[in-house]
Symmetry: C2
Subunit: 318 residues, 2 copies
C-alpha cells in the first residue's frame, strides 16, 4: 500500500508533536499543514505567528524540546537589553526567534503574502512540507474575560498566563477571511486521502480555522475521512488551558464534548486509553471512536500515534 496523502489541521505545541510524527511517516509530497493564525499578532512592530513558528521549529528539529515552542540554544540578549531600556518584554522573543520575525517582516513588507513568507522560511529551514497559514487574511482570536473584558489572544495566553475567566471567544476577521490559493488547492486535491485534526486546543487553535466559512464548508463537504485526536486525557489537557476553558464555557470535559464540537467536520476521534469508557458516548455523537495512547513524550510516541492515526483513517476510508 502506498502512503496516504494527508492534510493536517493544527495549532500549537500539541499539534506540532503529532505533526512531527506524521512527518516521520510520510514522504514530503504526501503531507501538508493548514495552521491556525488566530494567535498571530504584531509585537514590537514585528509580525508574530506563534503556531506556524512552533510547527516550523518542530519540523526543523530546532524547537526547544522542554517547552515545546521557541528555539533550542536560544539567547536573550535583545530582550534583556530591551527590558533594561524600559521596553515591553512580557512576550519572550529570543534572539534567533527575533531574526525569523525580522525576516518575515522584510518579506511581507516586500509585498509577499504570509503563505509565501512561510514558504521562504520553510525553505530556509529545509522543511519540505508546506506550512500553510489557514488564511492570508488576518484573523484574530479575542477573548472576553470576566477580569479584563476584551483580551487579545496573546495578552490572555502569555501576559496573563490563561488566568482570566473566559466568557466568550471571538475569531475576529474570520467571517470575511478567504482561502489562499494554496489552502484551496490542498483541500480540493483529488489525491487527498485523509484529513487530520491534530490534538490542539479545539476552542483556541482549531476553532479559528473552522470559523472561516469557506474552510468549514470545504471540510463539511470533504470526500475523504477526517480524524481528530482528542486533546483531553482523563478529563485534563496534556498542556494548556483546554480543560479550564471547557469549565468556564460550561462544557463537560469529555471526549464526547470534543466529538460534538467537531460535529460535521470529523468522522473519527482517537481517545486516549484512559478514556476507553467514553467510546460509546463519542459514537452517540455520530463519530467513530478509536482508542490509543495519545500522550506524546518521546519521538517514538509521536510516530506511533501518527501511524495509528493513519491506520484509523484507512479503516474509515473503508
Amino acid at each position: 500500500m502506498s502512503a496516504p496523502k494527508v492534510l493536517a489541521l493544527t495549532g500549537g505545541v500539541g499539534g506540532a508533536k503529532l505533526g512531527l510524527g506524521l512527518a516521520h511517516c510520510l514522504p514530503s509530497e504526501n503531507l501538508a499543514f493548514v495552521v491556525n493564525t488566530g494567535d498571530d499578532f504584531e509585537h514590537l512592530g514585528l509580525p508574530i505567528s506563534p503556531d506556524l513558528d512552533t510547527l516550523l521549529y518542530t519540523l526543523a528539529g530546532e524547537v526547544h524540546e522542554d517547552q515545546g515552542w521557541g528555539r533550542r540554544d536560544e539567547t536573550w540578549t535583545v530582550l534583556n537589553t530591551l527590558e533594561r531600556l524600559g521596553g515591553a518584554s512580557w512576550f519572550r522573543l529570543g534572539d534567533k526567534d527575533l531574526a525569523l520575525h525580522l525576516r518575515r517582516r522584510e518579506t511581507l513588507a516586500s509585498g509577499a503574502r504570509l503563505t509565501q513568507a512561510m514558504a521562504l522560511l520553510g525553505d530556509a529551514f529545509s522543511v519540505p512540507f508546506p506550512l500553510l497559514p489557514m488564511s492570508d487574511d488576518p484573523v484574530r482570536t479575542v477573548l472576553t474575560t470576566r477580569e479584563f473584558g476584551r483580551l487579545p489572544f496573546q495578552s490572555y495566553f502569555v501576559r496573563e498566563r490563561c488566568a482570566p475567566t473566559v466568557q466568550a471567544i471571538a475569531y475576529e476577521g474570520a467571517g470575511a477571511a478567504g482561502l489562499s490559493p494554496e489552502v484551496a488547492a490542498a483541500l480540493a486535491d483529488p489525491a487527498l486521502d485523509l484529513i487530520v485534526l491534530c490534538p490542539s486546543n479545539p476552542y483556541l487553535s482549531i476553532a479559528p480555522l473552522l470559523a472561516i466559512p469557506p474552510l468549514r464548508k470545504a471540510l463539511e463537504r470533504r470526500r475523504v475521512p477526517a480524524v481528530a485526536v482528542c486533546p483531553l486525557v482523563g478529563g485534563a489537557a496534556v498542556k494548556g488551558p483546554t480543560a479550564k476553558l471547557m469549565d468556564e464555557l460550561h462544557v463537560p470535559r469529555t471526549p464526547a464534548s470534543i466529538a460534538r464540537y467537531y460535529g460535521g467536520v470529523i468522522d473519527g476521534l482517537i481517545l486516549d486509553e484512559q478514556d476507553r469508557s467514553h467510546a460509546d458516548a463519542v459514537r452517540a455523537e455520530g463519530v467513530t471512536p478509536d482508542v490509543a495512547p495519545t500522550v506524546m513524550l518521546t519521538l517514538g510516541d509521536k510516530i506511533t500515534l501518527a501511524q495509528r492515526t493513519l491506520a484509523f483513517g484507512e479503516t474509515l476510508r473503508g
Copy 2:
C-alpha cells in the same frame, strides 16, 4: 569663572569624541547637543539614528572604543541568524543595538516625537545631557554618485563603503523641516555662551543641520561666538570620507575651505598644529584661527581639546 553654557552641533564619531571631552568639562545643565539626523533611515522596519546613537553610546561609556560606533561587548546572534535566513545583513546591527532600535520604534509608535524618544533613551542610559535631533521632521542625506546615480546615505556610507564618486549631495526634506521646541529653546537660551561645531564631516554631518532654514538663520543671528574644530589634519581626515569628498566636490583640502564652507555661522576655527601655516588663509576668510592638537586618541586628548575649545570661545566672547 563659572562654566560656560554650550550648545554643541555634531554628527558621528569625530563629533562624539569632542562631545565626550565637553561632557567631562561641563556640568550637565551647561551642555546640550544638536545632532545630525540626515543619516537616519528605516532598516528592517526599525528607525535607525546612527549619529544620535553614536553620541549616546559614547557619552554613556557604552561605545565600542576601537570602531567609535556601536556598542562594546556586542553580540551578533540576530544578524547572523537573519543572514542564514536570507535577510539583509549589510547594515551591522548588533543584538544590544537592535534592542535600542526596537525601543525607539515602540516609543515613536506610541506617538512620541524623535526628540522625546531620545530623551527617554538618554534617561535609560543615564546620560544627563540633552541629545536633541536637529529636527523631528525627516531629513535624508542623498548622494548623487557617478557609479550608482542616487544613493541614500547609508547605502553610500555603509553598503558601498564611500567608494562611489560623489557628484552632488542633497538633504531631502531639510527645506521644509522645522525646529523642535527643544532645539528652538536651546538656540534662543539667553544663558547660552558658546556654540561649538564639532569636528564631524562638514558635508555629510554638519551640512544637514545648516540646510534647515530656521536652524541656519538662528546660527547666523547668534549673539554668542560659534567655534568649529577643523576635521582636517594635514589635508586628510582623521576618519571617514571628508578628504575624498572634498576632492570629488573640487574643493581644496584646506582649513580655509572649511572656514569658507562655514562662512556666516562660525567666528573661530581651531586648526591642528600641523596646519599652523594655514592660519592666515583662515583669517582671510573672516574667521579667527586658533591652533591646537586636534587628533583625539585618548580621553585626555578629548578633554584637552574640549578645554581648548571652551577657552577659545571665551577669548572670542571678549
